[in-house]
């Protein structure tokens, strides 16, 4: 049984736009898979369908054998808290400090009153501090998120995802808003965590070279359809032409 199975996934928005036209692939439990393809090809939509931030129109998604589409909201929250997500625009809470932002990763595990009052479990707070150190943000724990640089913000985003102790990481173009040098730092961090914590990763990357450098497997998405699947080595000139062809 594969870790994640996506079968004939389709998404048509209410505007009529067909973002996904039947995508099928699967992920094993040690995978580091990257999705590449032209902008607007459906990469973001695909990722968001997996944790149902976007509702798929049709198709099946099986996460550890469980069908994600038919879950009710309580079960969906259970699944979501075991999937960590990292965003292109970081999506931190600007006015809150680094450590508070990281703690929001535990909301799926924290009771209502505790979370409304901001009194997370002591154990969680300690873990948050440890994780901040792990992502290299030890000296910035109390800084407000909007005082950080782009690379620092993404580290906080990564920390927030890891504190969930996730079984899976969904990563949406984590480096597109960052400088080249920082891009490698962030990708190194994600890759390291994936290996150390044995967490499979599905990551959409805009930069093909970056994708080839870090991902063992590559999926090419173009205009809502999977047009390529193979190892990084197999992404040659011909493959790129197929994925990025200009009509």
């Amino acid at each position: 049984m594969a870790f994640l199975e996506v079968e004939d996934l389709k998404k048509t928005y209410s505007t009529g736009e067909e973002a996904l036209k039947g995508v099928t692939f699967s992920i094993e439990s040690r995978d580091f898979v990257s999705i590449i393809g032209p902008s607007g090809g459906g990469k973001s939509t695909l990722l968001r369908c997996i944790n149902r931030l976007v509702e798929p129109t049709s198709g099946r998604i099986l996460f550890k054998g469980q069908e994600v589409n038919s879950l009710n909201s309580k079960e969906l929250k259970r699944i979501r808290r075991s999937i960590g997500m990292i965003f292109q625009e970081f999506n931190l809470i600007d006015r809150m400090s680094v450590i508070q932002n990281v703690l929001t990763g535990r909301l799926g595990y924290t009771g209502l009153w505790r979370s409304l009052l901001g009194k997370f479990h002591k154990h969680d707070v300690e873990r948050a501090a440890e994780i901040c150190e792990r992502v290299g943000m030890k000296d910035h724990i109390y800084k407000r998120a909007d005082e950080l640089s782009g690379g620092q913000r993404q580290r906080v985003g990564i920390a927030r995802a890891i504190i969930q102790s996730p079984d899976f990481l969904l990563v949406d173009e984590p480096t597109s808003s960052l400088d080249i040098k920082i891009q490698h730092e962030v990708m190194d961090l994600i890759h390291k965590i994936s290996k150390e914590d044995e967490v499979p990763v599905l990551i959409s990357i805009h930069n093909v070279e970056l994708a080839k450098e870090y991902a063992a497997r590559i999926i090419g998405l173009q205009d809502g359809k999977k047009v390529f699947e193979g190892t990084a080595k197999e992404v040659d000139r011909k493959a790129l032409d197929t994925i990025y062809k200009y009509d």
């Binding site: 929250k77 625009e89 809470i93 809150m96 909301l107 979370s115």
Partner: protein, 271 residues
């Protein structure tokens, strides 16, 4: 090509000419309407004899001067009461505007067909009814004094506060909301962490602004018996104590000025 350009140029010239003429006509029409209105309501309906000539008008105004300085100490208590009415009324409005904004915000209202209209309805009522009318309502229900004043200010301020807050809630950045949802948080947690931090600065700014306005409101509501310094002014005028009335006006001015100063400073701190 060239013909097209010529046609466009001629069009522009005509528009300018025409636009100019039309503009003048419009302004003249508006002026005529204003003059006619002024005539119909002011000129015809005013008792010009009562006002007298310019000298008589000046004498009437001078009756208020100089303000009676010895009356000022008697104004300290009413001024304090006005201030407190404004503070408590604003506090009440802040508390009540939280559920109202929640209901009136399209994206987080609990059950759109019912709660959204309720929220909007309360907002509209609050803003449509003038504070003096609110004061009259509460004075007739609760009797004279500061309590109806506080209630009136509370009810009047909800509308403004929740309207701006609800709009702000509807315009929040969706990214952080997505991120919090992705952690498995429930609706309330999403509101608490995804939305509230984004709207707090505006909410507080509005609250301070409303407090400033409410000082003015509290000052006059006393005239209809809702506590504060308004009743003092009313009584002095009724007793023809114009100098005392002037002192009261000055006391109100000072109070409002202090309120403005404090509110400006506080708002700068928040931003």
């Amino acid at each position: 090509m060239i013909e097209e350009r010529k046609v466009n140029q001629t069009k522009m010239m005509l528009q300018k000419r025409n636009g100019g003429l039309l503009g003048y006509l419009l302004y003249t029409l508006i002026l005529i309407i204003i003059l006619w209105c002024a005539h119909a309501i002011i000129v015809v309906e005013t008792d010009w004899n009562r006002m007298g000539n310019l000298q008589q008008i000046a004498t009437t105004i001078l009756r208020f001067f100089p303000p009676n300085v010895r009356f000022l100490p008697k104004l300290i208590d009413p001024v304090l009461e006005t201030f407190i009415i404004a503070v408590l009324g604003t506090a009440l409005a802040i508390i009540l505007s939280i559920p109202v904004s929640w209901f009136a915000a399209r994206n987080i209202t609990p059950y759109f067909p019912i709660t959204y209209p309720i929220g909007r309805f309360i907002m509209t009522i609050s803003r449509s009814v003038h504070e003096i009318v609110w004061a009259l309502i509460f004075v007739s229900a609760l009797g004279l004094g500061a309590f109806p004043g506080i209630m009136a200010i509370g009810m009047r301020s909800i509308g403004f506060m929740s309207k701006l807050t609800a709009e702000e809630i509807e315009n929040v950045d969706k990214g952080p909301i997505e991120a919090i949802e992705a952690t498995g948080a429930n609706k309330l947690q999403v509101i608490r962490y995804g939305i509230v931090p984004q709207i707090i600065p505006l909410f507080l700014g509005n609250a301070i602004f409303q407090w400033d306005i409410n000082i003015r409101r509290a000052s006059i509501m006393g005239i209809v018996g809702a506590g504060g310094i308004g009743i003092v002014f009313s009584v002095q005028m009724a007793m023809y104590n114009y100098h005392n009335a002037m002192s009261t006006i000055i006391a109100i001015l000072i109070l409002v000025a202090i309120g403005e100063f404090i509110s400006n400073r506080l708002r700068m701190l928040i931003i």
